[in-house]
């Protein structure tokens, strides 16, 4: 039950009537008055049959109860209905209309006073609190003094009773009204509230049980009031039962029943009321009725209150349980979260371990050593890789700062100390990166790149220094080579040569090993079409990027002028003029050899450059050019051209002075050695020639850049065979068929064909087996025919590798098949040159 559900002494409720049209509203009010008056009057008429004094005083006056209940429930503004009813009742039984009006005023005022008292006391019409019952008792007993006094006084004044009967009248009147308020009003209130569901809903069979109790009570009451003995108290347990079991719903009818029975007995002098005068009987009846009503309602209110508190307790308990449940759920959730956090942490730890391992491995691969220096203890910690970088076993010695510095190259130590000191002084965490050299126990040197930091406390005091060093030795070396090669290869030197029938070109470039700058040497081969070719070689004085960039410009200029069709002398002159324009301070030598391949004619222009070498069957000779100064030397020079005639198979060799001008050799001596080296290799192809010349001329360090360009005028007679086959065993049969067809077409006898094919296939197979790795590569086969012999060259570009397994048998076959066999193994590949006289069977 909602503890607040009871309506505290219903205040005047402004009803919906207020909004209705006045006429309707007034009609309804009047109707209400009339209805209330009718009910009042009818009840009064019935009650008067119990009149004890004259015809107008009864010991139980229900109209007053009705009045109180009505005013409580509907509001005091309904008092006119009460007044009307009271007047109507009193008019016929009172001596004069005045007396009747006076009595009616008393009958109206008393309920109004009772209602006023009740409302002041915050009475609740549900009567479900003991205090309501007490308040009701007080209001009933006190306010009815008004009606009793006015009523009895009027009776006396109008001479309806004698003055001596005033108290008798008064007591009956007071008792009747009080009983009306105490017994009838609660009954009506309970019925009303029950009807409006202001009580807990009835239990199962409650009505039946109530009926049984009331029936028993009625029987007991009848017995009590009809028996001669004073047995009224017998009814009390039943009243108690009704009140206890059904609370207000039981107490109200029980009290009404018993009171009515008692009143009836008192009126009729029955049972307990057989003796005594009127006043005695009234006092007894009043006391009994008041006791019954009070006890019944008080007990009911107690039970209600207890039920409410039990319910509150239960609700509290349920609430508590719900809260415990919720808390438990929260706890278990928290538990679960904790468990998952623990699992996550375990995961994180294993990830951490893994990443630590990966870090160590990464350090090893990247050659990164880590170190840490505790400034307070002076302790230095090196990672394993740190020890390895320093060329010692991990943990080989106790590391200290001084010990670590001992590794550093003497010259770099001040820089390192300074670097650290500056950061320390300035209380900065950042330490600039630094590169330095260390000297290893084995005498080697390494370049290290170091990054480090200080770890500072909040107030900026350094407590720890830590960092990494990376071994960048390789990078240092690599970067240098890379820079040179990259610059030269990409922007300055041709990456390939024009293919031209009858010409074979090879070139070499050797960067100087000292210093880090690219040199200014360059070479170029320009195809002009129509079997004409310009060979270019040049040397810009100086080194470094400036020289390299000028070299690039000159190369482009020479190429552009040559392609425009200028003669070599004009090309040189224009390039010279251009150089005055773009680089006044610089100088460069330049050698141009224009070749007419078919005419075997060479035109040579030299701008201060060493002369080219021609290499033919007759030996090596210098091709002298007209003397002219280097480009950029001075006043516009003239560059005269000289001519030379060459033979098929002749080779022209262009070079820069790095090849012959060496610190340990006079320049003439160098040139002499070059001529001798060329002379010794007149029968090799340009690639091999280049390699051999470099091998003969260059030993140890290259102090100056060397560029070398070799061009061979190859035979162009129709009928020569050139084949290039993939270096794969499956290609061999195809090569054999091609070679056999060519030999057949050339009229070579069948037995010679077989030998040549066999030998060539063996040589090619040898290349395939030995020369290359598994990647794609090629084998070249060239066959030429002269009047008396077949020449076959089998060439590969792979690195020669010692034969695996039984390699000798193939060579035996080749030698058995061919008249002469030369095998040339060079850095650029292997060449097998075979000759077989035609018409002579060589094999045994």
């Amino acid at each position: 039950v909602d503890a607040n559900r009871g309506s505290e002494a219903a205040a005047d409720v402004r009803t919906a009537d207020d909004e209705r049209p006045d006429a309707v509203r007034r009609l309804r009010i009047v109707a209400g008055y009339v209805l209330l008056a009718a009910v009042y009057g009818l009840t009064a008429f019935l009650s008067l049959r119990l009149a004890l004094v004259e015809d107008n005083i009864t010991p139980l006056w229900p109209p007053t109860g009705i009045a109180v209940a009505a005013l409580l429930l509907f509001g005091t503004r309904w008092w006119p209905g009460i007044a009307l009813g009271a007047l109507a009742v009193n008019l016929p039984i009172t001596a004069s209309p005045f007396a009747a009006a006076l009595t009616a005023i008393g009958n109206t005022l008393a309920p109004l006073l009772a209602v006023w008292i009740l409302r002041r006391a915050r009475f609740r019409t549900e009567l479900d609190r003991p205090r309501d019952v007490v308040v009701l008792l007080f209001a009933a007993l006190s306010s009815m003094v008004v009606s009793a006094t006015i009523g009895a006084g009027t009776l006396v004044l109008s001479d309806e009773v004698g003055a001596d009967a005033f108290w008798t009248s008064w007591s009956v009147w007071w008792a009747g009204d009080s009983m009306g308020v105490l017994v009838v009003a609660p009954f009506l209130l309970v019925v009303w509230n029950r009807a409006h569901h202001r009580y807990p809903p009835p239990r199962r069979l409650e009505w039946l049980e109530l009926f049984v109790v009331l029936a028993l009570l009625a029987a007991v009451s009848v017995f009590a009031v009809t028996s001669d003995a004073s047995m009224l108290f017998v009814a009390l347990p039943f009243v108690g039962w009704a009140a206890w079991r059904f609370e207000q719903s039981g107490a109200a009818p029980a009290a009404l029943l018993v009171s009515s029975a008692a009143t009836w007995a008192a009126v009729g002098h029955r049972g307990p009321f057989q003796g005594g005068d009127l006043v005695d009987r009234m006092i007894t009846l009043q006391g009994f009725n008041a006791t019954v009503a009070f006890t019944a309602f008080f007990l009911a209110a107690l039970v209600s209150e207890r039920a409410r508190s039990r319910e509150a307790l239960e609700r509290g308990a349920a609430d508590l349980e719900a809260r415990v449940q919720r808390r438990t759920t929260e706890l278990s959730d928290a538990n679960q979260r904790l468990a998952s956090q623990i699992a996550e942490r375990r995961d994180a730890e294993s990830r951490l371990r893994r990443s630590e391992r990966q870090l160590a491995e990464a350090h090893e691969i990247a050659r990164i050593g880590a170190w840490e220096w505790d400034l307070a203890t002076g302790e230095v910690m090196w990672s394993e890789e740190m020890f390895r970088i320093h060329g010692v076993e991990p943990g080989a010695f106790e590391v200290t700062f001084d010990k670590a510095v001992e590794f550093v190259a003497e010259a770099d130590r001040p820089r390192i100390r300074r670097n650290t000191e500056v950061a320390l002084e300035q209380r900065r965490a950042d330490v600039p990166d630094i590169e330095y050299r260390i000297e290893l126990p084995d005498g080697g040197t390494k370049h290290l790149h170091a990054r480090s930091r200080f770890s500072l406390t909040d107030d900026g005091t350094p407590v720890r220094m830590f960092g990494i060093v990376q071994d960048v030795t390789e990078r240092h070396e690599f970067e240098r080579e890379h820079r040179i090669a990259d610059t030269l290869q990409r922007s300055l030197l041709p990456s390939s040569f024009p293919e031209m029938d009858g010409v074979q070109v090879a070139a070499r470039y050797l960067p100087a090993e000292l210093g880090v700058a690219a040199g200014g040497d360059w070479y170029d081969v320009i195809a002009l079409g129509g079997g004409r070719l310009v060979l270019v070689i040049g040397d810009v004085a100086g080194h470094g990027l400036e020289a390299a960039s000028l070299m690039g410009q000159l190369r482009t200029a020479v190429r552009a002028y040559a392609l425009e069709g200028h003669a070599p002398g004009a090309v040189a002159a224009r390039t010279d003029a251009l150089m005055h324009e773009v680089a006044e301070e610089e100088m460069a030598t330049l050698l141009l050899v224009a070749l007419d391949v078919e005419a075997h004619a060479a035109t040579i222009v030299s701008a201060g450059h060493p002369p080219p070498i021609a290499l033919g069957p007759g030996g090596a000779r210098l091709l002298e050019a007209e003397l002219a100064p280097p480009l950029g030397f001075g006043q516009r020079a003239r560059f005269g051209a000289s001519s030379a005639t060459l033979e098929t198979g002749d080779m022209v060799l262009l070079y820069t002075d790095g090849l012959i001008d060496r610190h340990d050799l006079a320049i003439d001596e160098g040139l002499g050695r070059l001529l001798a080296a060329a002379d010794a290799n007149r029968d090799v192809d340009p690639e091999v020639l280049c390699d051999r010349i470099l091998a003969a001329m260059v030993s140890g360090d290259v102090s100056d850049d060397i560029a070398l360009l070799a061009v061979c005028l190859t035979p162009t007679a129709p009928g020569d065979l050139r084949m290039r086959i993939p270096a794969e065993p499956d290609a061999l049969s195809q090569m054999r068929r091609g070679l056999a067809r060519w030999l057949d077409a050339a009229g070579v006898p069948a037995d010679v064909q077989g030998d040549v094919v066999l030998a060539s296939s063996e040589a090619a197979a040898n290349s395939i087996r030995h020369a290359y790795g598994p990647s794609r590569a090629w084998v070249e086969v060239e066959a030429t025919l002269s009047s008396d012999e077949v020449r076959v060259v089998v060439r590969d570009r792979g690195r020669w590798r010692a034969p695996r397994g039984r390699g000798g048998r193939g060579l035996a076959v080749i030698e058995a098949c061919m008249g002469s066999v030369e095998i040339e193994r060079g850095g650029s590949g292997t060449e097998v040159r075979m000759r077989r006289p035609v018409g002579t069977k060589v094999a045994p």
Binding site: P729, L732, S733, R736, G754, R806, R809, G810, A812
Partner: protein, 119 residues
Amino acid sequence: VSRLADLVVEEQDGAVVARVSGEIDLSNAGTLERGMLDSVPNTAAGMVVDLTGVSYLDSAGIRMLGEMAERLRWREQRLAVVAPEGSRVRGVLRMAGAQDVVAFEDSFDSALRAVVGGP
């Protein structure tokens, strides 16, 4: 076996007879060797390799024959090669000094006799 050479294997008088025709070089020697060796059961007295139909043979082929002879020798089986006198193959074998590693015969019959024994 491969497009360059054909191999036919049969059994005769307890010996395995392999007839090769076509060309033998670096590209197919290994395959041929496996093909031939795989066809020799342990019970066979040996193998006759008939090269009569071979138009080209080089050192790869000779290596192949040498290795076959060696492998068969481990199993105490004999190898005879038919390469008629005057043939191209016979010339190559002689050039390469192959007589040291394998026996070659003029005719199939003599080769078979060399393997299984008899008159």
